[in-house]
Structures are given as C-alpha cells and as structure tokens.
C-alpha cells in the first residue's frame, strides 16, 4: 500500500483551531486541507510551533505527515540541502519533493589551485531556464591519498572557498574523522560516504559522535545494504542514513543498477518498508573508474547515468565532469522532473524581445504557460526573426486550453498591452495571435482596437509565416506606414 495522507479532519483535530489566519489561510480547516496535499508545511502555522501547549499535537502531526522516505539534511554555514523526503513512487501520484542534489567531486591529490578552481566552477555554475537559475548543490571531497592529514587539509580548503555542503568520500574511518575534526559540526553538516560491510562499526560511531548523516553502500548486495540499514538505524540508533546499492554499467551492471534503485524505492514508497526508506545516493562518477577510452565517451556515459538515476529515484548524485554539456541536461531534466504535475508551470507575463526588435517589428501574442512560451521563443529565435513577444497571463495554461477556458480573452490582451506600454514600443497597431486562438480574434480586435492577424497553429511555422505575411508591402497595406 502506498503512502496515504491523513484525512483533513484528523489533521484539523490536532491544529490549534483558533482560525487566527496567521498561516495565510482563512481558517484551520483550509490549512488542514492544504497540509494533506503537502502544499504547505506544519511550520507555516506559527502558533503550532511557538506555543508550548501545542508541542504534543505538533509531534503527532509530524508523525502523520512524515514521508516514507526519510528526509536527510546536509548543511554548510551558508546552505542547506535536503535529500529524500519523498512520498511517492511516481510523480503523478503527488509530486516529487527535494530535487535530486547534484554534487561534483574534488580530491585530496589535486593541487590547491586546482581544487580552488574546481570549487569556484561548481559554485559558479548557473543556467537560466524559464526564469529560474539552475545550479549545483554540493561538493564531494574524495580521499585519493588515504592520508588523514591531506584529506583534512583538502576539506579545509574546500570549506574555506565554498558555500556548499560537503560529502566526505572515503571508506577509511580515520580519514573521515580527521575531516570532521576540521569541519566541526554542527557548523558544517556533511554527509559521510560511506559505511561498508567492513567499516560500518567505526563509521557509525563517527557519524553518531559528530551527529552527521551517513551513507551505507553495499555494491551488488541488497541483502547486505538493508541489513546494515537495519543494524545502524536500530541497534546503533542512527537516524539519518542514505543508501547506495552501487552504480554499475555494462552487461549485468546497468540492469542491476536500475533494478536496485527501483526496488529500493518501490519497497519504501509502496510497501512502506522502513529499511529501504532512506534517500538514495547515486554515483555516475563511477563510470570514470569503470570505463576506459575517449574522455568524451566517459562523459557521455556519465550524463546518461546521471539522467537515468535521477529518473529512477536517486536523491543525490555524485558526478565528476564539470563540462557544461554534461551538466546542462542534468539540471534541466531535474527541474522538469520535480515540477508539480498538478500545477501548470508558468512564466511571468509581459513583453519580451526576440532578437533586436524595433518599432516596425511584428508583435506575437502567446500564453504564459512555460512550455508554450519556451517553444514560441525557441522557434522564433531559430527562425532568426526580430519580434516582440506579448505574454498573456493565462494562469499557466496552453493556448487551446486557455481559449476554451476563457483565460485568453480580448480583455486580457488589452490589459497586457496597457501594462507593458506596448503602444510606445511599436508604431504599428497589429497583433499576431496563435492559430489556436483564431476563435477569439474578433474579440481581441474589439477590445484592443488593434488589427489582429491569425498566425500559424504551430510555432515552428513562425519564421515562414512572417516571411510571407510581414513584408514591407503587407505592412503598408495593413497599417499605411
């Protein structure tokens, strides 16, 4: 049985029931409803958190709402990264929480300058996409030398030069301990990678002493992995664990990997089996040790593994390539995979420039549904046109749906022309609306008093369409200019 939220009544009974409105909802019942669909957090109800008398209820509610996949927190003095905290196996069942964290490695055999350079690159990585800045989340520090002093020094250098949380990668407890002495939790709260069947006692002791989360790994051996999860969580009382069943490629390897990640998450989310109920760590970086040959080939496979593991439930991945083309699809797919499938994704309405438009450039009208918007923008850019793009607030709905649902109306278009000052940007008075909005062309004309042309149904035709319909003669015919 998959995870089920409590009923609104159950939740309501435990809320303060004062209807004070501090959560931003009309009353406690409304808050309860949004709580069970996980749109708001318990912490959004201030009285529940602040007042001592609600402590008991708060704890109970936390229990009721806690995810079958535990949430684990990594921290640096400046950043918090949460991994896990998942409720469902499929994103359409609710949505996925806590986007897969992407960590890039440095190691203790690198020269200090190289380390600093890599850290700066990881830190500075940024790609702008539908108004969002896509970034990387953590730094994995590996011990290549197996020398505690060297490792501690490297970790110190990284911490000094970065704001991101760290992952301490070594199976040697002494090495990990040396780094933790330097980081001095709780100031920093790194993730340890990893406890194995050979070192688990020592690693667990260290994780406990410093109160930091610990990854367990048992490549190729799910029995061992869950045995360790049980032992460490129950007999050694470690609360924050993460699991890595091992990331393997090739014949027998990739199938094992997909099977292991899928089953672990299935057991946690559908069977609510607690020994699998921890964030999953994936290591696409392992292709670097498993494959030889051309660097580009290895990078290609690293991207493949990263995307496959993200799709199959990894909550944190560790990669090595810092090349833009390897990382770009990862951050973009992560963004998409973690959007809320219940809510359409939208971009802010307004006026955008395509190429270098001037006062005689055409005005294309579209919706603020992120995908429509992106496609129109992409197609128009591909066609190398100079145009204005008027983005209407259709509440994130696509053209056909918003026309049918009366979100794409003459009023809305008129309003957007006004609020964007379009009248001062162009000297003509012609709008080109999407082919799928042909039905409202009359009303748009009436409300805006602009001439309306019905453009192509598919944005891939924009270039061709403009070539044919936005010629000097036609403009003259239309506008007299």
């Amino acid at each position: 049985m998959p995870w089920k939220p409590p009923t609104p009544i159950e939740v309501y009974q435990l809320l303060p029931k004062t209807n004070c409105g501090r959560c931003g909802e009309a009353n406690c019942m409304a808050f309860a409803v949004r709580l069970i669909s996980l749109e708001v957090k318990l912490e959004d109800c201030p009285p529940l958190i602040e007042e001592e008398r609600y402590r008991g209820s708060y704890e109970k509610l936390r229990g009721l709402l806690s995810p079958p996949i535990k949430e684990v927190v990594l921290r640096s003095p400046k950043r918090i990264v949460k991994i896990g905290g998942k409720y469902v196996l499929f994103r359409h069942e609710l949505k996925y929480h806590n986007p897969t964290a992407i960590a890039v490695d440095v190691d203790d055999s690198m020269e200090t300058e190289v380390i600093i350079k890599r850290v700066k690159m990881i830190e500075g990585f940024e790609y702008e996409y539908v108004g969002q800045k896509l970034k990387l989340d953590a730094i994995a520090v590996r011990s290549v030398t197996n020398d505690p002093k060297k490792f501690a020094k490297t970790v110190y250098t990284v911490a000094e030069n970065s704001t991101l949380p760290l992952i301490l990668c070594s199976t040697n407890p002494t090495v990990v301990e040396a780094a933790l002495d330097v980081l001095n939790p709780p100031h920093h709260r790194p993730l340890i990678y990893a406890a194995t069947k050979d070192n688990w006692r020592e690693m667990a002791e260290i994780a406990k002493r410093f109160d930091v989360p610990l990854t367990i790994t048992a490549p190729g051996d799910l029995d061992m992995l869950v045995s360790l999860a049980k032992t460490l969580s129950e007999d050694m009382e470690l609360k924050e664990l993460a699991l890595d069943p091992g990331c393997l490629v090739g014949v027998g390897g990739l199938s094992y990997t997909i099977r292991a990640y899928s089953w672990l998450r299935y057991k946690a989310a559908y069977d609510l089996w607690r020994y699998a109920g921890y964030p999953l760590v994936g290591t696409p970086i392992s292709v670097w040790a498993q494959m030889g040959g051309d660097l580009r080939d290895v990078m290609w496979w690293e991207a493949i593994l990263a995307v496959m593991l993200m799709t199959r439930y990894a909550d944190l991945i560790i990669v090595h390539s810092l090349d833009g083309w390897v990382l770009l699809p990862q951050v973009m797919w992560r963004f998409q995979l973690y959007t809320d499938p219940r809510k359409p994704v939208s971009v802010p309405p307004g006026l955008r420039e395509i190429g270098k438009p001037d006062e005689m450039s055409p005005v294309l009208v579209t919706t603020n549904y992120a995908l429509t918007y992106s496609l129109v923008l992409s197609d128009a850019e591909k066609a190398k046109v100079n145009a204005w793009l008027l983005v209407i607030d259709t509440e994130g709905l696509a053209v056909d749906v918003s026309v049918a649902g009366r979100k794409f109306t003459g009023d809305k278009v008129a309003e957007t022309i006004k609020s964007t000052g379009l009248e001062k940007r162009v000297s003509h008075r012609v709008l080109i609306i999407p082919g799928k909005a042909a039905r409202v062309s009359g009303e748009v004309e009436d409300m805006t008093k602009w001439r309306v042309l019905v453009g192509p149904t598919d944005s891939s035709e924009i270039g061709k369409w403009l070539e044919k319909n936005w010629t000097p003669e036609k403009i003259k015919e239309l506008t007299g200019l």
Binding site: G250, S286, A289, L295, V307, W333, T339, L371
Partner: protein, 434 residues
C-alpha cells in the same frame, strides 16, 4: 599516580571486565532461551570504565525486537545488559535480513504489434519488429519475468531537403539529398532497425506533392532497404488522409506503419482502407490520455487493437519532457491494471528533442559544441522515455541509435554485476581533471 597503584587499578579493571563479559554472556544466553536467573547484579556504573574498542568485545547483544516479547525478568536483564553495554561502548553485531523482491500485481497486458511483413506474410521484409506484450511496467526485474520484446530503433528520413542540425548533416552528408540513399545509409552504415519516411513534400503549403509521388518514394525505399518502413505524413490532416489511403492501397502487404492518425482527421476516410491491408497505425494524442482513449476507441471501429501503436508525444529536455514522460508512465500503469483503451506499445518521435534550443544553438564555449549537445539531447530524451516504457523510436542521429542499442543490451542482460566491488573504485582513484 604511582606505578604500583596503576597496575593494581589495571588488574581491578581487568577483573571487572571479566565480570562484565561473563554477565553479558549469561544475559545473552538467557535472552536467547527466554529464561534467566540473575544473582547479585549490582553494578555501579562508575566502577566500570571499560576501555575497549569494539572489535575486542566478543559479546553478542541480541537486538531489541526479541525483548519486546520477552518476559519481564528477561526485560530487566536486558536493561542491565544495555546499561553495561553503554559503558563498555556499544557492541553491535550485524543483524542479517534479506531484501525481498516486491510483488507488484498487474492483470493487464499491452498488445503485441508487428511492424513490417516478411515473405511468409506476403511482404518483402527480411526483418520484422514486434513490440509490446508487456504485463509489467518497463524494467521491473522480477525473478521469472522476462520482458517480452525489447524496444526498437528506426531512422528518420525526409522526402525532401529540410533544415537539419549540423550534427545530422555531418553524419549523412550528401545522402540527405536523396531519401533512398539516406535510408540505405541508415540501415547499412548505422544499423537502423526500421526506416521512417516522412512525406513532408506532400504538405499543401510546401510542395503539395501528389499521393502518386509519395507512392514512388515509398516504393523506392521498400526496394532499397529490407527493414520495416514507417510512413509519415506532412501533418496536414486533410492531405495526410489522402496520402495514407493511397500508400496503403499501393503496398497492402508490406506491413507498413502509418504515422500517424489523430482526432483532427476524418478517420472514416482512411481507416477502412488501412483495415483492408496488413498495415499498422500510430495513434497520436499529445500528452493527453483522455484523447488517447478517444482516438483509440474510434480507430477500433475499423482496425484491430493488435495493429495500433500509441504516441503520446515528447518534448526534448527542457521543453515538456516531463509531460510526455508522465503521460507514458500513467498510460502504461493504467493499461497494466486493465484499461484496454491504453494497452498499446508506445512510439516516440525523438526528433522533437532537437526542438530544444540547447540541442541546436551555438552557446558560450563552456556549454560545449552543439554537435555534441544535439545528439546527447536526443539520447537523453530517449532514455527518459525508455524508463517510462517506450517501445519504438524514430531517431534522427546515428549516435542516438548506437547508444540506445548499447543501453538496450545492458538493460536486457541479467541484472548480475560481474565485479560489484568496482562500483567503489571511483572513491580513491585519481581521475583526469577536466
């Protein structure tokens, strides 16, 4: 502290340790048997500063769950043991449990669809492709379950020169000027398992080529390559109906696949003609399961279910991939729990991946050459669909075909790593700094 008194103290400690050990051993034994007699157990914790490292302690502390059902006296004993254990640092043995495979329950089955017809079926294909037949979601590696048919990969060919990304031009060169040559290169050089001919010249606003011309092209391709052929229209619903009708009539026994039927078409004008042949069809319903059910239900009026493939559309990474992905995941799950209207294998038009700007524009050098980004985009978009259960792919770039074939081989191999410990080699290996 003097030397003497230190040695005395050490001896005392050793004795106490011994007491603790024997006590723990007794408790352990008792806990296992469920009975215990404890005499004189008054342990003052202060006295027991045992300096031990975990490995040195040869005692097994039974895990707590045994205690929950234990008798009160046993419980008391356990508490004592626990107190001792805290002082003696924790001694824990690995509790071995097994990872039991989950048992997903599904009752539905995706139909098997055959693309292409061999000589024995009246066609002339050397190779046919069968897709579908699933009774489990994709890559559910249950012991004893063998996925019936692996996915297959076809190569896209257009019947006239169109704007193509440089990466594609580099791969095919002059063959792009001639669909027959293009198809041949796909099959002979790049291992395409089928050819997707897109008859875009029939578009009234492009060349408005006649159905007869389309037939010529399809004929030439059927002659040149002996793999299944998928016949795509121009996207103009009125014209496509006319072209499809003529094409299936001209090649009624080759097992052509019609790409695609949608709700904007007058289905009654084409489906009856397709029904008379051994052609299969792709029903197209972009990211909408309700409409997918609608079109399938309509098409069933003429064409048997076993001849229908479903296309829920996909956008390249960054451009709607998640909608197509989720539509496929939902459709397949629904099919497997018994929704007959969605029990069809999936087609993926991965060429859409190239619609993502990141796949074709020149970007700042940091983001790498577009000749690499393009095929990578197509590959990754295809892989995402693969995990959602995609069965047949129309691909543009040979590198995607190559990678997808490798991934297919790996995913369809028995999930048993040869050297699992290699998964940790990355931890301590010096890697090229890039």
């Amino acid at each position: 502290m003097s030397k003497v008194s230190k040695s005395v103290k050490d001896e005392l400690k050793a004795r106490q340790e011994a007491t603790v050990y024997s006590l723990l051993a007794k408790i352990t034994e008792a806990l296992e048997k469920g009975v215990i007699e404890l005499y004189n157990v008054e342990i003052e914790s202060d006295e027991l500063e045992v300096r031990l490292t975990p490995q040195q302690i040869p005692v097994v502390v039974t895990p707590p769950q045994v205690v929950t059902e234990a008798k009160p006296e046993v419980k008391a004993a356990y508490e004592v043991a626990k107190a001792v254990e805290v002082i003696a640092k924790k001694v824990v043995e690995l509790v071995r449990i097994a990872f039991e495979e989950p048992k997903p329950q599904f009752s539905g089955r995706v139909v098997e669809v055959r693309l292409g017809a061999s000589r024995k079926d009246g066609g002339s294909r050397d190779r046919v492709i069968v897709i579908g037949g699933h009774t489990m979601p994709a890559y559910y590696y249950l012991v004893g379950y063998k996925p019936p048919h692996p996915p297959a990969f076809g190569g896209d060919v257009f019947d006239m020169r169109i704007g193509l990304p440089r990466a594609v031009k580099l791969a095919f060169g002059d063959a792009l000027d001639n669909p027959v040559e293009w198809a041949r290169v796909w099959v002979e050089k790049y291992g395409a398992e089928a050819v997707d001919i897109h008859l875009i010249s029939t578009d009234p606003i492009i060349k408005d080529a006649s159905p007869e011309e389309a037939i010529k092209t399809v004929d030439a391709i059927l002659q040149a390559v002996k793999v299944p052929v998928i016949v795509g229209g121009s996207g103009n619903p009125e014209k496509d109906v006319k072209v499809f009708k003529k094409v299936v009539e001209a090649f009624p026994s080759e097992g052509l696949t019609i790409n695609s039927l949608n709700l904007d078409m007058k289905l009654e004008d084409v489906c009856p003609y397709i029904a008379k042949t051994n052609a299969t069809v792709i029903d197209f319903s972009p990211m909408d399961l309700d409409k997918a059910e609608q079109i399938n239900r309509k098409v069933y009026d003429w064409i048997p279910r076993e001849r229908i493939v479903l296309d829920l559309n996909i956008g390249g990474i960054g451009y709607g991939t998640e909608y197509g992905f989720t539509a496929m995941e939902r459709a397949r799950l629904s099919a497997l729990i018994g929704n007959e209207l969605l029990q069809h294998p999936f087609n993926v038009g991965a060429a859409n991946a190239w619609g993502a700007r990141e796949a074709w524009i020149t970007m700042d050098p940091y983001w790498g050459p577009k000749e690499v980004r393009g095929p990578l985009w197509e590959t990754l978009t295809s892989l995402i669909c693969l995990l959602a259960g995609a069965d047949y792919y129309m691909l543009v770039h040979p590198l995607t075909v190559k990678t997808m074939k490798a991934v297919r081989e790996y995913l369809f191999s028995e999930p048993k790593p040869r050297e699992p410990e290699k998964a940790l080699d990355w931890l301590s290996k010096s890697l090229p700094v890039i």
